[in-house]
């Protein structure tokens, strides 16, 4: 069960980040040409692959209890940030991420940058595509490495990430448009729940806690956190529609 959740967690996290990176890469491709866009994607992917290849095996040298304590703690903090954002967005307290708006903004910026000095090498297009894939991918690389090392399933985590990238690249370049219909906040919600749950599970295990039911706890934790998150979203929505009190006590 841990492996299934690990695969789903990495897959969803990678899907979200890949969709966001794709929006910028498409904007670069349409405005600056596909060559610098692809070169940026390939260069950033190589850096990310090297990061995972170096850090993944290196982490397995650390004793598993210490590794789970530290990595679990980091995943917990990271997961809580994702979950907080997803709750605020679902509750209407924060604007939803809009791929169409991001695409329009990035396209305008790329046009404003003007023509490249050397027509054979568009550094602007390359740099924007490279940075977008690298920055979005670093979070995924962190999740892949930590999930893989803590669970002893680096290959599975890498497979999940590659599956997500493949799906987004194939679909994205087939429709040649930002994937604005992907329910990004729902995915972020699920990723936040899974990262927070795995973080809690591993950090506590690393500290020497014995979970009741053993591995079954990793299924219960996301369910418990989901209930809490739904309650918080409902509270936020109720706050949004509550009548605003004005001077004199009139609603």
């Amino acid at each position: 069960m841990r492996d299934v959740l690990l695969f789903v967690g990495v897959l969803l996290a990678c899907l979200v980040e890949a969709v966001e990176a794709l929006t910028i890469v498409l904007a670069v491709g349409y405005t600056r040409g596909w060559r610098p866009a692809w070169e940026g994607v390939v260069a950033a992917s190589a850096v990310l692959a090297a990061t995972v290849a170096l850090l993944g095996p290196a982490l397995t040298v650390i004793p598993i209890a210490s590794l789970r304590l530290v990595v679990g703690g980091m995943l917990l903090v990271f997961g809580l940030q994702w979950l907080r954002k997803a709750i605020l967005r679902a509750g209407g307290a924060k604007a939803l991420h809009d791929e169409e708006a991001a695409f329009a903004e990035q396209t305008a910026r790329a046009r404003a940058a003007g023509e490249p000095a050397d027509p054979a090498r568009d550094w602007y297009g390359f740099t924007v595509a490279f940075k977008s894939v690298l920055l979005e991918g670093l979070e995924v690389a962190f999740i892949v490495v930590t999930f893989g090392a803590s669970q002893g399933s680096l290959a599975l985590a890498v497979a999940a990430a590659l599956t997500a990238v493949l799906v987004v690249v194939v679909v994205g370049f087939a429709v040649r448009h930002p994937l604005s219909r992907v329910p990004e906040n729902t995915l972020k919600f699920a990723v936040g729940l899974l990262l927070t749950s795995f973080g809690t599970f591993w950090a506590a295990e690393g500290a020497g806690v014995h979970w009741p039911g053993g591995d079954a706890a990793i299924v219960v934790l996301p369910a418990v956190y989901a209930v809490v998150a739904v309650i918080l979203v409902a509270w936020l929505r109720r706050e949004q529609v509550s009548p605003v009190r004005v001077e004199g006590g009139h609603a």
């Binding site: 304590l69 605020l88 979970w211 809490v228």
Partner: protein
């Protein structure tokens, strides 16, 4: 220096993010559980999830405050 600053900014954003209370809550929870286990307390599995829930609720409540 610029590279070092960006590296620091990356880790700050990564660990602290939008609300430092989340980092504080997680650290307090983990250190607390570790101390309880070292002190010989047995069934403390519920401590960390409880701290996580309280931390998240506080963070959301603070974010909602105008």
């Amino acid at each position: 220096m610029s590279w070092l600053r960006r590296f620091g900014a990356f880790w700050y954003d990564f660990l602290v993010g939008d609300d430092w209370r989340l980092l504080l809550g997680a650290v307090v929870g983990i250190v607390g559980v570790d101390a309880l286990v070292r002190a010989g307390h047995g069934a403390v599995w519920w401590v960390l999830p409880s701290v996580v829930v309280v931390t998240l609720a506080i963070s959301i409540r603070r974010a909602r405050r105008p």
